[in-house]
């Protein structure tokens, strides 16, 4: 059952990658690669988090790294820069819920007068804010890493 849930999440993630990717006008030849990268990246993250119960930071870093590698492999096949493939594919992993909770806690912090309540909301704001920024940096850093590891390949992906 859990595998089915993970699989369905990965399928939805690929739809998200495609839909949000289209806003940035990707080349037609790269669309299938974007869908596949989004699917594989989210599949890894969901498996690590839901099945192996690994922390979200490590899961995000590993799946972003995988997406960066997919960007290189698919980029070579479609003569497209890796960024064109992995940036749209990363979008399903945006830490939206943490960002929302940060803002919500901030509003509560401003609206309550009692110091004890303020402390709770301040702690909630800080925790969620750190998670939001941490995940964003790990997603970006993890996906960029393969480009720096395989610089020569990354620099000649668009050559025929």
């Amino acid at each position: 059952m859990i595998f089915l849930t993970i699989l369905s999440k990965a399928v939805f993630a690929s739809v998200v990658a495609l839909g949000f990717g289209l806003i940035s006008n990707p080349p037609r030849r790269a669309i299938l690669s974007v869908i596949l990268t989004g699917f594989l990246g989210y599949l890894l993250r969901a498996t690590m988090m839901d099945y192996f119960d690994i922390h979200i930071f490590i899961s995000c870093l590993c799946s972003a790294f995988l997406m960066g590698c997919c960007g290189l492999v698919f980029g070579k096949m479609t003569r497209t820069p890796a960024t064109v493939i992995y940036i749209p594919a990363l979008l399903p992993m945006i830490p939206g819920m943490y960002a929302y909770k940060s803002i919500f806690a901030f509003i509560n912090y401003m609206n309550y007068i009692e110091l004890s309540e303020k402390a709770i909301y301040l702690e909630q704001f800080f925790t969620n804010f750190v998670y939001t920024i941490g995940i964003l940096i790990l997603l970006a850093g993890g996906s960029i890493m393969p480009m720096f590891l395989f610089t020569k390949t990354a620099n000649s992906l668009t050559r025929n």
Partner: protein, 251 residues
């Protein structure tokens, strides 16, 4: 030399406007200059940039141009196709006229139809809502809110409203529509509001800025990161206003 220099200035400006990271822009443009036997020096920034095309043997013979970066939406297609064109020029040593023709073809190629993009973006928000644990009501609500706010965003952009203000208004409208989820239950509203604004996150600009900074193009990299941060603050402000309204309704 003047003709090639002018095309190269436009080439670089379009690449910057499309959200390509600086090392790729620099490599691609220098590759083209090298194919025609010239040396290229670049100074990049987000608003204006300058290029100097020099004779490879005598730098005193040169062409200099300072060009404004056009206000254009992010285009990964331009990034990919212009980069590919640079290799084509380098490998095939094509005449400048042919390079110019191909360049013009790429930059004038049409984007995906607005109707299709707005529908797909709405579908993507629908899927993202599922990933965040939303029920079918939240997913449908997010679909509608993205569809409406995406079209509003295009309308405001066409009317030349300030970009950050467009994001603020769009985020406010999207999240306000999503708050209708309170008529189902609190959890539905929470997930719907969270998901409704996420299609506005400036992923391309943020990652390009980070790559630029890591590769030593600190000025343009920081400009991009600051831009993306301002964009995200505008987005968060729209969400903040919605949540504050909700908070007062419920208190």
């Amino acid at each position: 030399m003047n003709k090639l220099g002018h095309i190269l200035a436009q080439y670089v400006a379009i690449m910057v406007a499309s959200g390509t990271h600086s090392s790729r822009i620099s490599r691609s443009a220098k590759r083209i200059a090298e194919a025609y036997g010239y040396d290229l020096r670049l100074s990049l920034s987000l608003k204006n940039l300058s290029i100097m095309l020099c004779d490879a043997n005598d730098p005193s013979i040169h062409y200099y141009e300072l060009i404004a970066v056009p206000m254009a939406p992010i285009s990964l297609s331009n990034n990919a196709d212009l980069s590919r064109l640079s290799w084509e020029v380098y490998d095939k040593k094509m005449p400048i006229e042919q390079f110019e023709e191909k360049f013009n073809n790429i930059i004038s190629s049409p984007r995906y139809s607005h109707r299709m993009v707005s529908l797909m973006a709405s579908l993507a928000s629908f899927g993202l809502c599922y990933l965040f644990g939303g029920n079918i009501w939240a997913m449908l609500l997010v679909f509608i809110s993205t569809l409406v706010s995406f079209n509003l965003k295009s309308f405001l952009t066409k009317k030349s409203v300030n970009n950050h203000l467009v994001i603020l208004i769009t985020s406010l409208v999207a999240s306000l529509i999503a708050t209708c989820g309170v008529f189902v239950d609190g959890q539905t509203a929470q997930v719907a509001v969270t998901t409704s604004v996420l299609y506005l996150v400036p992923g391309v600009v943020f990652i390009s800025g980070l790559i630029d900074t890591l590769e030593g193009y600190v000025v343009i990299g920081f400009s991009r990161i600051v831009n993306a941060t301002m964009h995200t603050i505008a987005l968060a402000l729209g969400l903040f206003i919605t949540l504050t309204i909700l908070h007062y309704i419920y208190l």
